[in-house]
Symmetry: D2
Subunit: 266 residues, 4 copies
């Protein structure tokens, strides 16, 4: 019988270190913090990676998923505090210098309709990215996708009645000066930058309200990213941001897009 030798520990002679090696597409239940209910249960898709020095032939793939389970034990659920420990656990378990962790999940929030007050569940895609270095500081980047209504100022200005409008997605990434702020507060900030925010349940008086509100707050895709940029720069919580907006134009079969990225630490 062949012996179960550890080939990954063999010496590699190509003299090429690897920037990132690990696993992707791991789905895992997770608990995240929630301003209204303290926590919510959701489902994450996870990527876990480390660097590999030039002298090693391979990494140990099973240890990445083990690290995920190590932090997910007890209530058998990963939460955001244990998630933040993941990079350090990877550094240890894999004798690495740098770790990169991505955790993406849908985030839910009950939201009241603007007139009737009826509550409906809204969903937002959130991603945590954590980059850590052995003996150094780790960097946490939060990305949230917020769907909104955008109504075209040009179409409004020219047309006899109404204006074309559509669903758009704001993809907003931030890094924090200090502790992260609530996801809910980021959502509120972004929704106020659009023509109107979206709702899950709208009764007739609500639908009248959102139609009129969007008409009164027209924004180009350019306005939308600039509004978010201004709100971000007026806040003290952030050290860096990137805001992208993509409008699924109701008059075209392609999308309008804009992007601003800035460091705020200079």
């Amino acid at each position: 019988m062949k012996n179960l030798k550890d080939m990954q520990n063999e010496r590699d002679t190509r003299c090429i270190s690897i920037d990132r090696v690990g696993v992707r597409g791991v789905r895992f239940p997770i608990v995240v913090s929630d301003k209204a209910n303290r926590t919510q249960n959701t489902v994450a898709t996870v990527a876990l990676m480390v660097d590999l020095p030039q002298e090693y032939k391979g990494t140990h793939m099973s240890r990445f998923v083990e690290a995920l389970h190590d932090e997910g034990e007890g209530p058998r659920r990963l939460n955001i505090h244990t998630a933040l420990r993941l990079p350090n656990r990877l550094l240890e378990k894999l004798s690495a210098q740098r770790a990169h962790v991505e955790i993406a999940f849908p985030f839910f929030r009950l939201k009241k309709a603007p007139v009737s007050g009826m509550e409906g569940m809204m969903d937002y895609d959130v991603r945590f990215v954590i980059d850590a270095e052995r003996g150094g500081k780790s960097q946490f980047t939060l990305t949230i996708k917020v769907p909104v209504t955008t109504l075209c100022p040009c179409s409004k200005a020219m047309s006899t009645h109404g204006a074309h409008n559509q669903r758009g997605i704001v993809t907003y990434s931030v890094r924090f000066v200090g502790p992260p702020i609530w996801i809910e507060d980021l959502i509120d900030m972004i929704e106020e930058c659009a023509s109107c925010s979206l709702y899950s349940i709208l009764k007739r008086p609500d639908e009248k309200f959102v139609t009129d509100h969007a008409y009164e707050h027209p924004v180009f895709v350019e306005d939308l990213v600039r509004n978010v940029a201004v709100a971000t720069e007026n806040h003290t919580a952030f050290s860096w941001y990137r805001v992208e907006a993509e409008n699924f134009e109701s008059i075209h079969n392609h999308n309008a897009y804009a992007c601003i990225e800035r460091s705020l630490t200079d």
Copy 2:
């Protein structure tokens, strides 16, 4: 050395015939007929399947892709006439009783803006499905996805100004009594059923036109599928249809959907 035995021809004893077996996700260049320019080049994703009687252990997977190449030779391009011969070629090459072929591709069309007349390229997803039986007739089903503008009648009726509108997709499948009609004519028929059709290039007078036109032609997702149903039933070319519409609501983060399916041969 082991011999290269034909395991697929071995006898299977489980007494279970297979409805469909073959290949999926084969990409292949294709030439399709085009009303304006006679032909256009595009790229297809192909699925090829046959039935397998209970006594055979396996089919011969390489022969499916060979059949595709057999019909694609010469100018080395599959066209719609050779595509229609594919099921019979599969029946022969694989000694099968039934064949099922799917060919999906983007279809392009230059379209003039409504006021400026500027031409822009529009794209539509098209799918051909051909089901053939040995010694029997084959059935051809054409599906086209037509993106349109829909403007909400309820929002228009209630609101002070304007109405919410959005991109929607009509997924329209038909079978023909006689020879198929032009894809372009199907597109025209469907686009007239919506609040407005989409364009690739719109200058300012065009944008005013499409905004006003949509406002004057509000449709619920229910109206859209009914309008397409009426147009289909008033035409003599069709023996069966299914029309689905999905609106990417500008006020919600979910979609509105409606579907009608009818046989017209009774």
Copy 3:
């Protein structure tokens, strides 16, 4: 001011009833039954539809999402028992004759590695479809996607060493004679039909085991669907099934596919 009239209740004169109308793409947290832990938290994507008689202009879209919230209240989480009540609630709230509900979610299960016994989390895509008729019985269809290893018998028979193998997906749909059986039992049944089952964590002795096990249990895509068909037909729980298998061939850039569908009530 315009009044908030209920346009949806207006009379339609096109004389065309609509088969299905409603909402799609609604994401919602859900609790599902779990053999090991009684329940697990996951996230569903939901579609809710009813028929619409020819005399009504439109349905009431907000009531679909309201119905979802009605059943999701209390612990504010939809579970499988309340989900099964959704179609009847739609029939009532929308005065419809037929309702169609789809609930799709990832399902998680801890699974022990075959030699080391280490536990790792596996994920499976599950879909519930419920079709109900006013005053009639409702039909429940469960679909599960089970990823497996498949190793090619032909490649094994011909080659000097080894055989090509790959990840495949079995998409298995069933209807039940009586009460549904555990999702975990369906997974076990399907995994035994493949060359080997998948694991989230495999240590070296486990990796040796799964490699050897797959080599000793080669299956064509045809064998895989037939094995599942035999297992299904030998069981008494099912009234109908469809099994599809798709192999992401390691030697091709396209996939091998097979499908069997049978009613077992005749």
Copy 4:
């Protein structure tokens, strides 16, 4: 009647310039250069963007698509030479300082099976990215996705027979010192770094060959990216590269991943 004022030209007072604004998701037929047949017809998905100075309220979206048509006229097809002119045309038409163009398309190539010599069509996803600055040099980045077979060295070393293997995707991005080299030559280079290359048609002797060849050339995902890195660094054509490999592990429901990125100009 309202006049058709050019709102986009109005002055913006938020003092925030926009990094990129334009259109995404535009599909367009294209002709690309081909080593065997001089040219091939395929279908591109295009993104076109420019920067926007802080003093302008908006860009002119229709001009982006006009630029695409300007370069696509004549034979009404975009080819790679006209595509490379797109950024400069955007700089002119939109009075911008920086332009960013992305053109993604499937690339086809006939490939002979290794023993039988039978020809089958292989498909590869290619992306051109062109970044241009007014009065400066433009930067061209080519990305190609090459699907390959990978066979696990560790599984081979430990197991009684065979080894787990799977389809993997190498995503390879390069910038050139001088003129670009043929896409076909890049494909050849990458395919030689894997356990075996993929084919569209394999007859039995070919299937034996690829199975044996993969067994004799095991590679970890780490080996794969290092092999590509060595081949790239031994070549003189490149000024920068990034190679990513992702294996759709046949024994797991998640993927193994590795990445190396280097500038070669230092």
